[in-house]
Amino acid sequence: MTLEALAALKLEIEKNVPGAIVEIITNPSVSAQHSLLIDNAHGLAVAMFLRDAPELKLDYCSNVTGIDWPSREMTEKTKVKKMVEGPDGPVEKLVDEVRKWTTPAYLEVVYHLYSMTLGTGPVILRLRTGDRGENVQVPSFYSVWRSCDLQEREVYDLYGVIFEGHPDLRRLLMWDEFTDWPMRRDYVDPDDYEYEPTAHDEVLTRAKAHYPAAAPAESGPAEDNA
């Protein structure tokens, strides 16, 4: 979908769903698949509109993806023209200016919508949570597209996004007693392998934690445990 078509769609949504806040997220890559960021309060209404509008008929939600965006330190170097005191008076000069900021932390859910009736798509919707701790609620699109059923459960299981309105929000892939969110970027997986034949870098650090001092091999009967 081109940017112009997406801007028209944005206007269409804002006209038909009063109060909806829609933002276009551009995609700088070659694929040029731009997306729409929807606010959580009107998410369900927007989804209903996209499904039912006769000229859109996005009746097929293909893919639901969770993404974790932890807070990151960003630095950007820009060349700025500045007046600098030179030996013979002020001179205009290009100076590096370093700008630093931190990005907000949130979890994101991306929906890829197509129309099976019209054969069009994709229209990409994004929902964002408030943060990564307490405010991780987004509206569930289960009632709009049944295909969100298992996929939203998967996003809940792996990222901990809570889909409000999902009738059966349980863990999908991990066991019920599991308490972590394994696909988050800061997840630490259990330290359960001790030795790698090609120990280097991270693996070597890990292996060292298992054998703090290079202890002499225990003198015992050599036994093949195979």
Binding site: N27, P28, S29, S62, N63, I67, M116, P122, S147, W175
Partner: protein
């Protein structure tokens, strides 16, 4: 009984409102008819299914997490192991998504090779699926043996081309890993030419069989509306009468050059789904014949694509293909580093299972087995 305390009981009785008792049984994850480590908790009233809850995750091997720590090319061998019947279509889907992300052109000959290998993959997948479905219905051995006999012929072709029977790891961004070896095309033509004979034999054996018709017709019916809403794709969707084949809709690769038809079902039951597979094999043969006739000479890969230090520009792309089991999509987010920031597989098998309960309610336990068989799942892809 500490050793078993953590495990749920295989069967238990629940009290119903009418004073009778329901039986809850746990089918799987070790069950000969669940096509792998898939589990269903089925609640029965007598013989009738009144509730069915699938349990996933017994083959969740963290493909997506591992891919975030791998280079783009490093994930290619892992895609083989998603749907381990169809490694070549998995490769193609991933290559397509990366090519969209980085804007890579694929040379003509490579496109033809991709079509040929993908359609061969479809042939062996559908043949084995029909064999397994018959196995579930009690035709133990013979149809599956016939299917695997043909599958071995196709696997020999794959082995000659890629070096591996199952885990081919063959496609690359912007083409394929190597060119067709000498004589391969003639060999493949022979295999394709002999395939209709197998199909005739298979159809004579199965299609008009009264037992199969009695077991499958009207069983596991999926309506058109529910199929669309639940995101069902592939032969299962088309068995419900929806004309949606990505080879026709997206025309990815060079599929617009071939003339082939999309078989459509009418009833959306197990019989239609099984006939879809048989008819699709005939159409794949047509595509193969055309592709093997037209394949041009030329480079098999885009020489400008970087293999080492491949860093796509920041952005994202969603690429999808018509895999034998349905729409296989890859969603990639690049942050400019050599590893994808997010790598997501849209698994057709998992999403096709969304409606398993709807198809099985009110049927017998024996129908659950063949309904599941007709969905065509591979657990490597369901759980990733």
């Amino acid at each position: 009984m500490s050793a078993t305390a953590t495990l749920p009981p295989a069967a238990m009785l629940l009290d119903s409102e009418e004073g009778s008792q329901y039986l809850e049984i746990s089918m799987g994850p070790h069950h000969p008819s669940t096509h792998g480590v898939f589990r269903m908790n089925v609640v029965l009233d007598g013989e009738t299914v009144i509730k069915l809850k699938p349990v996933f995750g017994y083959l969740h091997r963290n493909h997506e997490k591992i891919a975030e720590n791998e280079t783009y090319l490093g994930s290619m061998p892992y895609t083989d192991r998603l749907d381990y019947f169809c490694s070549l279509t998995n490769n193609w889907g991933y290559a397509l998504a990366v090519e969209k992300l980085a804007g890579i052109e694929v040379p003509e000959r490579a496109e033809y090779i991709r079509v040929i290998t993908a359609e061969l993959t479809r042939l062996q997948n559908h043949a084995s699926l029909v064999g397994f479905l018959m196995q579930d219905m009690g035709a133990s051995g013979t149809p599956l043996m016939y299917a695997f006999r043909e599958r071995e012929k196709i696997l020999d072709l794959f082995e000659a081309l890629t070096g591996a029977r199952m885990m081919c790891n063959y496609m690359r961004f912007g083409g394929c890993r190597c060119d067709l070896p000498a004589g391969w095309l003639d060999w493949a033509k022979k295999v394709v030419a002999s395939f209709p004979k197998f199909l005739d034999e298979f159809e004579t054996l199965l299609v008009g069989n009264e037992i199969i018709m009695a077991r499958t017709q009207g069983v596991g019916v999926l309506s058109r509306e529910l199929a669309i809403s639940a995101g069902i794709t592939g032969p299962m969707l088309r068995a419900s009468g929806v004309n949606y084949d990505l080879r026709k809709v997206d025309k990815y690769g060079i599929y617009d050059r071939f003339s082939f038809r999309v078989p459509l079902g009418d009833h959306g039951d197990v019989y239609d789904r099984y006939m879809m597979r048989l008819l699709e094999m005939r159409e794949s043969l047509k595509i193969l014949e055309q592709a093997m006739k037209d394949i041009p000479e030329g480079p098999f890969t885009d020489p400008k694509t970087k293999v080492r230090n491949f860093r796509p520009k920041p952005g994202e792309a969603y690429g999808r293909i018509e895999a034998p089991k349905g729409e296989l999509g890859y969603y990639l987010i690049s942050d400019g580093s050599p590893n994808p920031y997010r790598y997501r597989v849209r698994p057709p098998s998992l999403i096709n299972l969304t409606v398993l309960e709807d198809m099985c309610l009110g049927r017998n336990v024996a129908d659950v087995v063949i309904t599941l068989g007709s969905v065509d799942i591979v657990l490597g892809e369901v759980d990733r």
